[in-house]
């Protein structure tokens, strides 16, 4: 991500240190990951130590310090989904994509992650792909959904 774009985002949040997390969320959302150069620029302009940014970038699940795949798959592991068999959905997705939660495949096509509740609990098990939620997932349906990508 180029420096100008990072600066634009920082300026949009009025260069306030307390907006650090919001700035990082925007960079993550546009760029799909947080490159080191972007973090250093943010540290410089917001006048916050790099250690704080490093802690934030690793503490919160929304951030990734490595490039993510084009399609981000999130499997909800919340209680309602768990009780309805979310682990089996996760196992099937792992088998079909060849990656485990936290990983990205070599072609940078898929990234897989678990997420702790998307709020669609009545429709469990839920799988979210690129921000779109798919409810009432069953191992049998997964192949179709993934094929469409």
């Amino acid at each position: 991500m180029d420096k100008d774009r990072v600066d634009q985002i920082i300026d949009k949040h009025e260069c306030e240190a307390s907006s650090l997390i919001q700035v990082l969320l925007e960079i993550q959302s546009e760029n799909h990951w947080l490159p080191k150069e972007a973090l250093e620029r943010v540290a410089e302009r917001l006048q916050v130590p790099l250690t704080r940014i490093q802690h934030i970038a690793t503490f919160y699940k929304a951030f990734s310090l490595v490039p993510k795949g084009r399609h981000e798959i999130h499997i909800c592991m919340g209680t309602a989904c768990h009780v309805r068999g979310a682990s089996r959905v996760l196992d099937t997705v792992q088998d079909q994509t060849g990656i485990k939660p936290g990983e990205t495949d070599l072609d940078l096509k898929f990234s897989l992650d678990t997420v702790n509740c998307l709020g669609c609990c009545a429709l469990g098990p839920v799988m979210e792909i690129d921000g779109k939620a798919h409810g009432k997932m069953a191992p049998a349906k997964i192949a179709d959904v993934l094929k469409k990508l």
Partner: protein, 642 residues
């Protein structure tokens, strides 16, 4: 749209909006909440708009996407006003029929109506559906009637009249007194008296004070706040502005978890609209009260739902909780007096102002006033959000509203309060929901998550599940939580894998004590609750796992084996074909046998064996019967050899 500069102008605008609306004009309301969108509601809305245009009915019929009424499992939900005809699980293909039958000919499309899963009875109107009938939806009931992206819709149902009353007919002391008199208690889980919290901040020294909406709703299985913030953002805003008046705050924050993008979108839009109308910003409604509010997104950390951690996150830091020896309503955000309340708590405020504290205090019980929204999920027939008066029994919620347990299974336990809560068994079902009763029994009401578990759920695994969740979400600052919970998880995982040892339960109890007494924040202190409550009511399951290596619920993978009963197997070959590990030997007319060495316990054979045969069994705690010899496996139709 010009700024509204007085209470009178507000009423003029409201009258104007209402006079432009014909209450008898058909309105197709399609739920556009995150749940129904996931089930295809956007396509349904588009289909309605296209069909209405095609039929030339655009001047005669309104179509709108609305807030979430909470019946997500049967979504997409469509309600046709003014008759209030409710259709469920509507697909785009159903739209032409609905338009021609219901809109044009006023006839009901029978197959789309609600069907009671136990009695088979149908219900036509929204108010007839048993799921809704037994609720008291004073807060969430408005959702299906308004388009959350339209401030005019909110004004049409009386929105912001409470704010006008507060600004022009009451003093800030009177507002505080009214909230105190109502006995409103926080809906986020702790149940702290809202009036006292506000009073503490109001009287605390300092010019700058803050009010915050906690929309971090991290409890897995809970989505009340999502529905409220997405579906009726202005109601939350109105409550927040009123609170700011009472406390003396001019700056507010709404902290929304980023896993709720639609809620972020709708509340951000609502703020913009309110600013345009002069309901936020300088000189609200022409008064001398200024108030601005900012939206901050969470970044994926359950611990940020804890109030001090949330404030730390607002300051742009990692969400590590701080000690509450000095309460945050005295020293909170940037060490200034801060009132933090849950979304549902703020939503109650405009009602209390409009209808009065006495009206509010009539609902509920002695110490728990008003209603509570629960998210009723899990093994239950009618899944969704239910709003009931405090004091209703768990039994009524689960059976009268929830419709009982599906597929003829037996109820086992109800888990409430999220990861900080506990499980209650069948003989506790006559407890009344509220802040105090559930706590005495070893659980808690929490933010409203209510997960129903049936006979197939292993209670030891439930405790393990919650500890796994909390280990992942712990901030890691203090030893009792970071290390104590980690060790508890290890032991519980071993127990579910058949590696439990004598002394494990006692060690778990010791670790539970350290976390409960010495952890830094409530996440750590309440982490052992899932273990302690399941131990209290289901001790036999723990002992079976540890001493007999048996899982009574036949759930823990390492403790069960799958076995095909040779007396029941009819060699239909379905299971052997579906087995992903090719572990089932057998063919046509040959009794099937599972090779235990190859079996991965995926459970597919159990699920696909036709119910009329029911030949696949799960066994736990006993050895698998020896396979019948090869020669004996042939089935001779007419009579079976053994």
């Amino acid at each position: 749209m010009a700024r509204i500069n007085s209470s009178a102008e507000l009423e003029e605008i409201r009258k104007g909006i209402l006079s432009g609306r014909d209450p008898n004009k058909p309105c197709i309301s399609v739920c556009a909440g995150a749940g129904c969108i996931a089930s295809g509601a956007s396509e349904v809305i588009d289909a309605f708009k296209a069909e209405i245009e095609k039929q030339g009915l655009m001047a005669d019929v309104n179509t709108k996407g609305t807030g979430c009424p909470g019946f997500c499992e049967r979504g997409p939900v469509v309600v046709i006003y003014p008759e209030e005809i409710c259709y469920l699980q509507v697909k785009p293909e159903d739209v032409p029929e609905i338009v021609s039958q219901t809109i044009k000919e006023k006839k009901v499309v029978d197959r789309l109506l609600y069907v009671d899963r136990t009695t088979g009875e149908k219900a036509t109107h929204e108010s007839d559906i048993p799921f809704y009938k037994n609720q008291e939806r004073i807060i969430i009931g408005s959702n299906i009637k308004i388009d959350p992206k339209s401030i005019d819709d909110y004004l049409a149902i009386g929105g912001y009249s409470a704010l006008a009353k507060v600004l022009f007919q009451m003093t800030s002391e009177q507002v505080l007194e009214e909230v105190k008199k109502s006995n409103l208690r926080g809906r986020g889980g702790a149940g702290f008296p809202t009036g006292s919290k506000w009073e503490g901040s109001r009287n605390a020294p300092g010019e700058i004070k803050y009010v915050i909406v906690n929309a971090d709703e991290g409890d897995p299985g809970a989505f009340m706040d999502r529905a409220l913030l997405e579906g009726n953002p202005h109601s939350v805003l109105e409550g927040l502005i009123i609170g700011a008046c009472a406390v003396g705050s001019r700056e507010g924050y709404i902290y929304v978890r980023q896993e709720y993008p639609l809620a972020v979108e709708n509340v951000t839009l609502a703020i913009k609209q309110a600013e345009e109308y002069g309901l936020l910003g300088k000189n609200i409604l022409g008064s001398d009260f200024d108030f601005t509010v900012k939206v901050h997104q969470g970044a994926g950390a359950f611990v940020c739902g804890e109030s001090t951690a949330l404030m730390t996150a607002l300051e742009g830091r990692t969400g590590e909780p701080r000690p509450k020896y000095i309460r945050s309503n005295i020293k909170g955000l940037w060490d200034r007096p801060t009132v933090l309340n849950n979304v549902e708590t703020w939503s109650n405020v405009p009602l209390i102002i409009n209808k009065g504290a006495d009206w509010f205090a009539q609902i509920g019980t002695e110490r728990s006033k008003g209603t509570k929204i629960f998210s009723l999920v899990g093994k239950i027939n009618n899944t969704g959000l239910v709003e009931v008066p405090m004091g209703m029994t768990l039994r009524d919620i689960i059976y009268k509203i929830g419709g009982g347990i599906p597929r003829g299974k037996r109820f086992k336990a109800v888990q409430t309060g999220g990861p900080s809560g506990g499980c209650l068994p069948e003989d506790m079902l006559d407890l009344e929901v509220g802040f105090d009763e559930l706590k005495k029994a070893g659980s808690m009401m929490g933010s409203g998550g209510m997960i129903i578990l049936d006979e197939d759920t292993c209670m030891v695994d439930i405790a393990r599940y919650f500890l796994e969740f909390l280990t992942d979400e712990s901030c890691g600052k203090c030893v009792p939580c970071r290390e104590g919970i980690r060790q508890m998880l290890k032991i519980l995982t071993n127990i579910t894998k058949g590696k439990g040892r004598e002394g494990d339960i006692e060690l778990l109890e010791e670790l539970a004590e350290v976390a409960r007494e010495a952890a830094l924040c409530e996440l750590g202190r309440s982490a052992p609750n899932s273990f302690l409550s399941t131990l209290k009511y289901f001790r036999d399951e723990y002992e079976a796992h540890v001493l007999e290596k048996r899982c009574p619920a036949l759930s823990c993978k390492e403790l069960i084996t799958f076995y095909i009963d040779p007396d029941k197997c009819q060699a239909c070959t379905i299971c052997s074909k579906k087995c992903p590990s090719e572990a089932i030997a057998g063919g046509k007319n040959r009794i099937h046998v599972i090779d235990q060495e190859k079996c991965t316990k995926c459970g597919t054979c159990f699920e696909v064996c036709p119910p009329r045969f029911g030949a696949v069994r799960k066994i736990s705690g006993e050895p698998v019967p020896a396979s019948i010899p090869e020669e004996a496996r042939t089935i001779v139709r007419g009579s079976k050899e053994k």
